[in-house]
C-alpha cells in the first residue's frame, strides 16, 4: 500500500494540489462517478479540471474576490464539489449548509458569514435563498443547477450554473492565464473553509480553517491508514459535515481515489452496495441503522437462517474479543471463523456494502460498545475517530490491531493530546483552526496558546488511548456521588432495534430514568405480528405491550450496570426526536439542555409518583403549521413486569 506521496508545505493549497493531481491523472483516470438515470457515469480528472476551471472563472467574472464567501447547499453531487473547489481556486472561502436546515439557520449563517454567492441545487434551495434575500443584503447572486421546476423564475439575482460556466468560458478566452494565476496567488495559511459547528448549546459558531489545516489533517490520517488511488469512496453524507470534507477533499485529492455520488439520498445505501467502497467514514447513526437492518431481517428470517446467524455471531464475537485483548486466535477457532465467514459474515457484509472495506471509521458522536463489537464480529475493521470541526475533523484514531471499543484510540502523527487538571481534553496540531469568525470571545476561550480546548471530559488510559467521557456538562452525578455518562446508557439502549432514540436523565437525582423513542417501523411490524391495533406513532408508543417490550430492552441494558446507574422508570415519547424541533443537532446529537427544558413536565412526572403524565403541547410542522397535542403518557416503573404472554424475540 502506498501512503500519500504529497508533501505538505505552507505554500501548498487545496487548489494547487487539485491542479497538480488533475495534470497527473488527466483523461485516463476516473476522478468521480455519479449515478444518474440508473447508470454510473464516470468523470475523468480532465473533466473535473475543465468544469472547475469554467465555474471558477465564471464566479470571478461575476465579481468573486479573494476572501469572499461562497455558500453552498444541496445534496452530494459532483456539481457541489466542483463549485466548492472552483470557489477555492478563485481565492474564495466555502461555507456549506446542511440540506435540511431550517430557514432561520440558513438566514443566520448566510448573514453572519457575509456570503456573496449562494449555490443552491434546485428549486427548493433557490426558494430558501430568495426568501432571505432582503435580510441578507450582502448576497449578490444565487446560482442554481437543477432546472427542474425553475421555468417560471425570472429574478435577476438568479443565474444557472450553465450560465456561470458560459461566463467562465468567455473570460478564459480573454485571459487564458487567469485561472492558474489565481491559484498560484494562494498560500497555505489562507482561509479555505468557514464551517459552522452544529452547537448542542447555543447559536452555531463559524470555524475558520486554512488550506494548511485541511491538508495536514488528511496527510496525517493517510499516514496512519494509507489508501490507494484505485480505491473507491462513496460521498453521501452532508458536505456541511467536516468528516465528509476530510474524505472527499483532503484525503480524496491527496490519494486520488474515486469519489462516487449516489443517485438520490434515498438510494445511498443501495448505491454503496453497488460500489463496495474501500474506506468509509460515517457518524454512529449510520452504523446503528445498519445494525438495526440486520437485527430486523434476522427477526424475519427462517429458523435455519436464524440459528446459523446466531452461531456465526457467537463465533464472530469470540474472535473479535480475542482481537481486542490482542490474543492469538487458536487454530480451531480460525477454522470456525472461515466457516462462518463463508456462510454468514461474507453475505451480511455484502448486503451492507462492506465487502471491500479496509477501514471503516465512526465519529462525530459516541458509539455504543455493542454496535462496535457487532461490526468487529462481522470482520469489519471499524475504528473510532475523535476530533472537532475546529481541528479539521480528526485528531485521534484507532490503529490496526490496537482497537479498544471503549476508547477512541491514539493521537494522529503530529498531534499532541493532553488532559487538563479538571479533566478537559485539549489538543495541539498543525490542523488546529485559526479562530471563530467574528467571535473573538469564543476564540479566546477555545484557543489558548495554540491548544484547542474541546469542552469534552476524558482521560488517557494505561495504553495511551484517549477515553472520551462525555461533554463536560453532560456528565451526571449519580445518587451515590459517582460520575456517570448518560450517553453510554443511551447508546446501549439504542442497540435494541426497537429503540430509535433515548434520553437518560439522572443528574443529582435519586435514581436514573429514561425517555425512549420507539422505532416506528420495527415496533410497528412487531405489533402487526402480535395483532395489536394502532393508528399512529403516538398510539403505538403508549400500548401496554409496547411499553413492556421497551422495558425488556431496558432490562437488558441495565444488566451489567452498578445499581445506582440502572434505569428505574421510563416513558415512551409520543414522537421521535427531530432536528427540526431543535431536539437534536443536524448531526443527530441530543441537545440535552433543550429537551430538559422542553419536556420539563415529563421529567417532573418521572420523579413524581403518578402513573400517567398529561401532555399538552404544540408541535410545529416543517411548513410552519402547528398542531396541538393533548395526550397521556404511561410511566413504567421498575421492577419491570415481564408479561408471560409475549415472546420478545
Amino acid at each position: 500500500m502506498t501512503g500519500p506521496s504529497v508533501e505538505i508545505s505552507k505554500d501548498l493549497t487545496i487548489p494547487k494540489l487539485f491542479l497538480q493531481q488533475c495534470r497527473k491523472y488527466g483523461a485516463s483516470r476516473i476522478a468521480m462517478r455519479e449515478k444518474e438515470f440508473g447508470i454510473w457515469r464516470p468523470i475523468t480528472w480532465q473533466d473535473y479540471l475543465d468544469r472547475v476551471k469554467l465555474i471558477s472563472l465564471g464566479l470571478i467574472s461575476l465579481g468573486l474576490e479573494r476572501g469572499d464567501k461562497v455558500a453552498l447547499i444541496g445534496d452530494n453531487r459532483p456539481e457541489g464539489l466542483w463549485t466548492e473547489i472552483a470557489a477555492l481556486c478563485a481565492g474564495g472561502i466555502a461555507v456549506w449548509l446542511f440540506q435540511d436546515s431550517l430557514m432561520e439557520e440558513v438566514k443566520y449563517i448566510i448573514d453572519h458569514s457575509d456570503t456573496k454567492f449562494l449555490l443552491g441545487e434546485g428549486q427548493e434551495e433557490v426558494d430558501k435563498g430568495l426568501s432571505i434575500l432582503d435580510e441578507c443584503p450582502k448576497m449578490e447572486k444565487i446560482v442554481w443547477d437543477d432546472p427542474k421546476g425553475m421555468r417560471n423564475y425570472e429574478q435577476n439575482v438568479l443565474i444557472s450554473l450553465k450560465e456561470v460556466m458560459e461566463l467562465g468560458r468567455e473570460l478564459d478566452r480573454k485571459e487564458p492565464r487567469l485561472f492558474e494565476d489565481r491559484i498560484n496567488e494562494g498560500q497555505g495559511d489562507d482561509i479555505a473553509l468557514l464551517f459552522y459547528t452544529s452547537g448542542t448549546t447555543a447559536l452555531p459558531k463559524g470555524a475558520l480553517l486554512t488550506h494548511y489545516n485541511m491538508l495536514t489533517m488528511g496527510h496525517n490520517l493517510m499516514a496512519v491508514d494509507p489508501c490507494q488511488p484505485t480505491d473507491d469512496f462513496v460521498s453521501y453524507l452532508p458536505f456541511a459535515w467536516i468528516g465528509e470534507q476530510m474524505m472527499s477533499i483532503s484525503c480524496g485529492l491527496q490519494i486520488g481515489y474515486t469519489i462516487n455520488f449516489p443517485e438520490e439520498p434515498e438510494t445511498a445505501l443501495e448505491n454503496i452496495r453497488e460500489i463496495g467502497p474501500h474506506v468509509m467514514f460515517a457518524p454512529p447513526r449510520m452504523y446503528e441503522q445498519m445494525t438495526r437492518t440486520v437485527q430486523v431481517k434476522h427477526l424475519d428470517s427462517t429458523w435455519i437462517k436464524r440459528n446459523l446467524y446466531t452461531f456465526a455471531m457467537k463465533v464472530g464475537y469470540r474472535i473479535a474479543n480475542l482481537g481486542f485483548e490482542k490474543k492469538p486466535v487458536p487454530f480451531h477457532w480460525k477454522l470456525l471463523q472461515k466457516f462462518c465467514h463463508l456462510t454468514v459474515h461474507k453475505k451480511l457484509r455484502d448486503h451492507l456494502g462492506l465487502s471491500n472495506i479496509r477501514n471503516a471509521y465512526t465519529g462525530g458522536a459516541a458509539m455504543g460498545p455493542d454496535h462496535f463489537r457487532f461490526f468487529h464480529a462481522l470482520g469489519v475493521n471499524l475504528k473510532q475517530i475523535y476530533g472537532q470541526t475546529e481541528i479539521a475533523g480528526i485528531s485521534v484514531v484507532h490503529r490496526n490491531g490496537n482497537i479498544k471499543f471503549d476508547t477512541v484510540g491514539l493521537p494522529l502523527p503530529g498531534t499532541e493530546v493532553k488532559i487538563t487538571e479538571d479533566g478537559e481534553i485539549i489538543s495541539k496540531s498543525p490542523s488546529v483552526f485559526t479562530g471563530y469568525y467574528k467571535n473573538p470571545e469564543a476564540t479566546k476561550s477555545t484557543l489558548i496558546d495554540g491548544w484547542l480546548y474541546s469542552g469534552d471530559k476524558g482521560f488517557i488510559d494505561e495504553d495511551g488511548h484517549l477515553v472520551v467521557f462525555d461533554r463536560s456538562k453532560d456528565v451526571m452525578t449519580l445518587s451515590d456521588g459517582r460520575l456517570f455518562s448518560p450517553q453510554y446508557l443511551e447508546t446501549r439502549l439504542k442497540f435494541s432495534p426497537y429503540v430509535k432514540d433515548a434520553w437518560v436523565i439522572g443528574n443529582e437525582r435519586p435514581f436514573v430514568t429514561a425517555v425512549t423513542c420507539i422505532d416506528y417501523e420495527v415496533v410497528g411490524r412487531w405489533a402487526d405480528e402480535k395483532k395489536l391495533n394502532y393508528t399512529s406513532y403516538h398510539e403505538l408508543s403508549q400500548k401496554e405491550e409496547v411499553c413492556a417490550l421497551v422495558a425488556h430492552q431496558i432490562e437488558e441494558a441495565n444488566k451489567d450496570l452498578p445499581a445506582p446507574a440502572r434505569i428505574r422508570k421510563f416513558i415512551n415519547l409520543y414522537k421521535e426526536f427531530d432536528p427540526d424541533d431543535d431536539e437534536l443537532t443536524r448531526t443527530r446529537k441530543l441537545r440535552r439542555a433543550f429537551v430538559e427544558e422542553r419536556y420539563a413536565n415529563i421529567v417532573e412526572g418521572l420523579y413524581g409518583d403518578q402513573g400517567i403524565i398529561h401532555i399538552d403541547t404544540t408541535i410545529k410542522y416543517e411548513d410552519g403549521r402547528e398542531a396541538h397535542i393533548k395526550s397521556d403518557l404511561r410511566v413504567t416503573n421498575w421492577p419491570f413486569q415481564r408479561s408471560k404472554q409475549w415472546n420478545y424475540f
Binding site: G38, I39, G149, R151, E263, E264
Partner: protein, 273 residues
Amino acid sequence: MVPKSGLKEGDVLLELEDVHMYFGRVAALVEVSLQVAKGEIHSIIGPNGAGKTVMMNCINGLYKPQRGSVRYAGKDIGRLSPHRRAELGIARTFQKIELFSGMTVLDNIRLGRHIHMKSGIAAGSIYAGKTAKEELSHRRFIEEEIIDLLEIEHIRHKTVGMLPYGLQKRVELGRALALEPELLILDEPLAGLNLEEVEDMARFILDVNEEARWKVTCVLVEHDMGVVMDISSRVLVLNFGNVITDGTPQEVQANPEVIKAYLGEEDLYATRR
C-alpha cells in the same frame, strides 16, 4: 360545434358534444358538452355520483355514450376502442389504482410503452440488433423522462404491491406518461394522499402540463378544491349528470348554482387544508 369564445378552430383538442349516457333508466350523463383546449388543465368537479368518472370512461372509450359525439383533434373517435384511442395519444390514470401489483415499478411503466414498441414477439425473444437498440432507447426514455421527473429512483426495482399508496399513485402517473400522451386524463390523482404527497403530485401535474418537454393537456377529476382552483385553466361542474357551469376558476367559485350544488358539503375549499 363552434369553438368557445377566444378559441380558434385548431385549438380544441378534445370535444364532447351533447353526450348522453344511461345505465338502464339511470341517467348518468345528460346533454354534456365539453371543450378542452390544447395546453390547458381542464378540471371536472362535482359531488359524488355526479358522473365524473363516467365522463372519463366515455373519453377514453371504456363506455360508448348512447347519444352525442366525442371528437379528438378534429376526428370523431366515438366508435374507437380504448386501445385505439391510446394510440392516438390519450392516456389515463384511475381513481382506484389499476397497476399490476405483482410486477416491479419499472415493468409497470414499461407496459405503458407498449404501443411504441415496433419489434414483434419473435424478434423480442431473440433480442439482438435493432430490437435490443429499441429496448435500450425505451429504457432510456423511461429513466430520463419519467423516473427522474417523478423522483422514484429509489423504488424502480420494488414490487408495486408492497409500496405505500402515495407512491403507487405516482407509478400510475408514470405508466400513463410512458405512452407519451397528448391528452392525459387524471381521475382523482390526489385522493387518499397526505399533504406532502398532494403537493408533490400537484407539482408533477404542473410539470407535465407546462414543461416544454411534455406540454400535455390534462383533464383532471378531483375533489381537492384547493388544488383544482389553483392549477386549473378551466373548471366544469357536474351535478347528477348535468353540466352546471364551465368557466375559469374565479367564475365557477362565484356561481350561485355551484354553491347550491355543494350546499351541505362544507369541505368545498378545505378538503385537506
